[in-house]
Symmetry: C2
Subunit: 348 residues, 2 copies
């Protein structure tokens, strides 16, 4: 039973006094240092005192003395895309494994807020920085980020100054297409995202590769670009379905478009997956899992990207401690697999 109310926090000195040893001894025991010896009895006395007094180390003081905060900073544009927060989860878990704590700041998708966020995080003396985007693209990273090791997540630096972790869009496109091919489809429509963005470029490339590898010549008429909305998916799907020689399967650039495609298919009294198979992209749970029939889709590996980014950051920091960074930009671009999630919109 601890003291209640405004009683000052228990410090290491309190523990030392209670255990009748020096504060140094307490520090050594708690740090688990094996190079300096402490007798088992003393050790136990100290640990007992810790328990009795309810001692809790002061992370700030520790950081000050040890010259390392144990904190990582994560900057994300929380506002726009709810689903990208899986990055936080993965990063959080991985950081926890290394006994690091994640400081999360929001850039609100505004450059000045991003700068402010970096500044605040550096004041907290984070050991490294993660910068995450809601959708895969090139970003402008605040300059100050260069002062500590930094890893980009789901985005990349046009100037290649920072290493980044991004989804394997091409592989995802392949995987989706291959799944449809495996189900026997040969005329596969592709409703792409706005042209130019990495997701659109990569997924289209994967689509083409898969078809070519299967000995099918990609039919340009079966590829349409849309705008990442349900309405756009509805329109595009309608056009493909009204083709004279219509496709038997649709690969949609994302799940929202797939959602619109469902409506277009239904309006034509066609059945999913019997008459038209559909594969989405992104795995937005709230859509994909609850559509009827549930949507087979390719997942963006946000959580895994978060984990990987923290791992990478950890090794960057370790390398930096040993002075291995020689000022050269580290042009690493780690791509993470996009797994296919089987649901019910493609026949087995």
């Amino acid at each position: 039973m601890r003291a209640s109310g405004k009683s000052r926090n228990v410090t290491m000195s309190d523990v030392a006094r209670h255990a009748r040893v020096s504060r140094t001894a307490v520090s050594f025991v708690l740090a688990g240092r094996s190079d300096t010896s402490v007798s088992p009895q003393t050790r136990d006395r100290i640990l007992d005192a810790v328990r009795d007094l309810g001692y809790r180390p002061n992370a700030g003081a520790r950081a000050l003395a040890a010259q390392r905060s144990g904190l990582f900073g994560l900057i994300t544009e929380i506002v726009t895309a709810p689903f990208a927060v899986d990055v936080i989860k993965g990063a959080q878990e991985r950081a926890w494994e290394d006994r690091k704590f994640l400081l999360i700041a929001s850039s609100e998708d505004r450059a000045d807020m991003a700068e402010a966020a970096v500044e605040k995080l550096l004041e907290q003396r984070v050991e490294g920085l993660l910068y995450a985007a809601t959708w895969h693209r090139a970003v402008q990273v605040p300059k100050a980020a260069g002062e500590v090791p930094t890893v980009l997540v789901n985005c990349f630096d046009a100037e290649g100054r920072f290493p980044s972790v991004v989804p394997d869009e091409i592989g995802g496109g392949r995987r989706a297409t291959e799944r449809l091919l495996a189900a026997g489809h040969e005329r596969i429509g592709f409703i792409n995202l706005d042209p130019g963005i990495p997701a659109a470029v990569g997924r289209l490339e994967g689509y083409r590769q898969a078809l070519t590898d299967a000995g099918i010549h990609p039919d340009p008429d079966l590829v349409i670009s849309g705008h990442a909305t349900a309405d756009s998916g509805y329109d595009a799907a309608g056009r493909l379905l009204d083709l004279p020689d219509r496709p038997t399967a649709l690969f949609c650039g994302n799940d929202r478009m797939a959602m619109g495609a469902y409506d277009a298919v239904r309006e034509r009294a066609l059945r999913i997956p019997e008459d038209i198979a559909i594969v989405g992209f992104d795995n937005q749970e709230l859509i994909a899992a609850y559509l009827r029939p549930a949507l087979t889709t390719v997942a963006l590996p946000f959580e895994e990207m978060g984990r990987t980014a923290v791992s990478l950051l950890g090794s960057l920091i370790a390398a930096g401690d040993q002075g291995k960074t020689d000022g050269q930009p580290i042009d690493t671009k780690v791509t993470i697999d996009c797994p296919l999630l089987e649901r019910s919109s493609v026949r087995p």
Copy 2:
């Protein structure tokens, strides 16, 4: 232009030396203290030095000396849930206004993780704690949370030891029902969530109040309980629609159920909103905004709850500083309005 590379961080002493004053003077100027005087010239010299050297205060050291970290802790069950993002956003913004920083930890919906999270946050010497749940209910808060001011968000403590901020479920239920009444509907079906949970109890109560106030006697046959899934909504809607004297409107306990209800309506070749009006609850953007027609729904005010909770926490801490807390449990329960979002599933 700052020194690059591994150069040690600039400290206050560096600034003092560069400005040819004592460190104390620098501290005073940066703290903006008006009780002790510093001549304008000196002030400028110091501020110039700060800029020249790129001085950035060390938050940890400051916390240690000032005995207050400027940190709030936020524990959420699942960081990745869309709701959590909004709570975080609101809390983040509000905290930022007070120049506080939010430490976000996840309990992964496990009691032991929650304890660990509280422990870790207390090690960081957070000045207060927010504890947020994914769905409105009573929760078990780790005991250690009692050591600092704590506010519950979207949940409440059965023992009433902590103040909490929750959505106004009754008001939301009323609002949804009143909207349907205003559109001329009199037979309004209600597909409720699992009975017993606060959301189900409150929304039903609001539904009844609205009907009664409108002089309509609630018909028990029009109320069905489901399980918060699209399938369940589909089944329940089907049963209501197959009633001899079927309702002309459906109020669904949440948006997923509404999603299922859409399918049931479509199967019967009925149109939304012409034949059947539908109102949802929760405003899960990815569903509500992208259903066709877009779903009119009642929003859970997560962002506002986050903001309010931080405000409340701030005042609790301020009160504690002045010793106004006398150990009594503060049984506050702030309810936040649930606004109706007009879309297209109810005719104007």
